[in-house]
């Protein structure tokens, strides 16, 4: 046998067949089928296909390559190799998709966090504003309370003065009373102390107090405020001009005008009673203008030391 006879076509075909048989695999490849399941599963997921298209493509290519190797009876190692690549790339596609999904979610969640934080900050600012408004309100209330306290303190001082005065001896009281009575030109009469407010206090037919009445009303109010226990009857009178009914009404109004003036000067209204006598009880002649002016008057009857008041009605 020479060397040429060794390389006969038949012999070469035999070698070739042996080599092919060495590469070939038979039956199904479990690794390939596992890879196919994983690649198909990933490729069937639209989210993975959208987020990792390149990885899906390379996984499919590897799977196709593995199938071709299997069909072409290539080396088992080659089929397994491409099956492995297909499987790993399918997993890579899945993980890339998960990573990108997480990124999207992160962006979205972060945006929501930012939105809520902004809302919280806005609300905190509003709360702060409200608190500031409330504290300024509290401050103004505190100021009002302080002012009220000052007023109370003033009232307390006034009360203390009053108490001092009340504590003064009876003699002193009589002296003070006398002085004040002189000031307001009070007269001792059978009905008790009477202060006559005449002297152009009213015009004919009118009941508004003239400005000249003010100083005497001030003094009378001062006296009444000093002697809180004193009660009054305020009696209105008129001259004889006009009807009886008109004059009765006019006299009542005059008495009320004086009462209102005393109330305005701090005398409690409950201490005062109104009396209206019209043209009755004149103190002067209605025949002359001077006489009529004297008759247009208000008399204030002051209760005695026992607190008794004698109205003209009670005198009858």
């Amino acid at each position: 046998m020479n060397t040429k006879s060794f390389f006969t076509p038949l012999a070469l075909a035999g070698v070739s067949a042996t080599l092919i048989a060495g590469c070939a695999t038979t039956g199904t490849n479990e690794k390939l089928e596992a890879a196919r399941t994983e690649v198909n599963s990933a490729a069937a997921n639209p989210d993975i296909v959208a987020k990792a298209p390149l990885e899906i493509k390379t996984a499919r290519e590897a799977l196709d390559r593995a199938d071709r190797a299997q069909r072409g009876h290539e080396d088992r190692e080659e089929v397994d190799h491409y099956a492995y690549l297909a499987q790993v790339r399918a997993r890579t596609a899945r993980d890339y998709a998960a990573a990108r999904r997480a990124t999207d979610e992160l962006t979205e969640t972060q945006r929501e966090v930012d939105r809520l934080r902004l809302a919280a900050r806005t609300r905190e600012a509003e709360v702060a504003r409200t608190q500031a408004a409330q504290s300024s309100q509290a401050a103004s209330m505190a100021r009002a309370e302080a002012a009220a306290a000052n007023r109370d303190a003033a009232a307390e001082r006034q009360k203390a003065l009053q108490a001092n005065l009340e504590a003064a001896s009876a003699q002193e009281r009589v002296l003070i009373l006398q002085t004040v009575l002189n000031e307001i030109e009070a007269r001792e009469t059978e009905r008790g102390l009477i202060v006559t407010l005449g002297d152009v206090l009213f015009e004919t037919g009118r009941f508004e107090l003239q400005p000249v009445a003010a100083p005497r009303l001030d003094k009378l109010a001062g006296f009444l405020n000093r002697f809180q226990e004193k009660r009054l009857i305020i009696e209105g009178y008129t001259d004889s001009v006009g009807s009886d009914q008109f004059n009765m009404e006019l006299s009542r109004r005059r008495a009320e005008a004086v009462k209102a003036a005393l109330v305005a000067r701090g005398v409690d209204a409950s201490r005062m009673t109104i009396g209206a006598y019209g043209k009755s009880f004149p103190v002067a002649s209605n025949q002359t203008a001077d006489g009529r002016q004297l008759n247009r008057r208000v008399e204030v009857v002051v209760s005695d030391e026992n607190g008794n008041l004698k109205s003209r009605l009670s005198m009858r």
Partner: protein
């Protein structure tokens, strides 16, 4: 007269060998795989979140280089390709884990923020 048959026989034999070994691994392919593994290994998150995949990639690239030295080119090519695929999977996996962890943290912050807002309604 037998010469054409001889040639045909040679051709079949060569094709069969080629089918088995395919193209030998290129230096470029090895370099790409090596670079992918190094990049994955140099990323702290990969070492933290995908240590198994990373170890596998490293083992395969060094095995590929050993096969290369022994001139087992087919094995070297397969190992290099698998190492590269493993390295990319390790990166993707680590990225997914890291992002999901971040999402969980932000979600937690969002929940506590919501609770806080619910406790102090405006």
């Amino acid at each position: 007269m037998t010469k054409p048959f001889v040639r045909a026989g040679f051709a079949i034999a060569l094709l069969s060998l080629a089918a088995c070994t395919t193209a030998p691994v290129s230096k470029e392919q090895m370099a790409v795989a090596r670079k992918a593994v190094e990049r994955a290994g140099g990323t702290p998150e990969v070492a933290q979140w995908a240590p198994i995949e990373l170890d596998q990639a490293r083992a395969k690239i060094s095995q590929a280089e050993q096969a290369m030295n022994k001139m087992h080119y087919a094995t070297a090519r397969r190992l290099a390709d698998e190492a590269e695929a493993d390295a990319r999977l390790a990166e993707a996996h680590a990225q997914a884990m890291k992002n999901q962890r971040a999402v969980a943290e932000v979600r937690e912050a969002l929940n506590s923020l919501r609770e806080e807002l619910a406790r102090h309604p405006g």
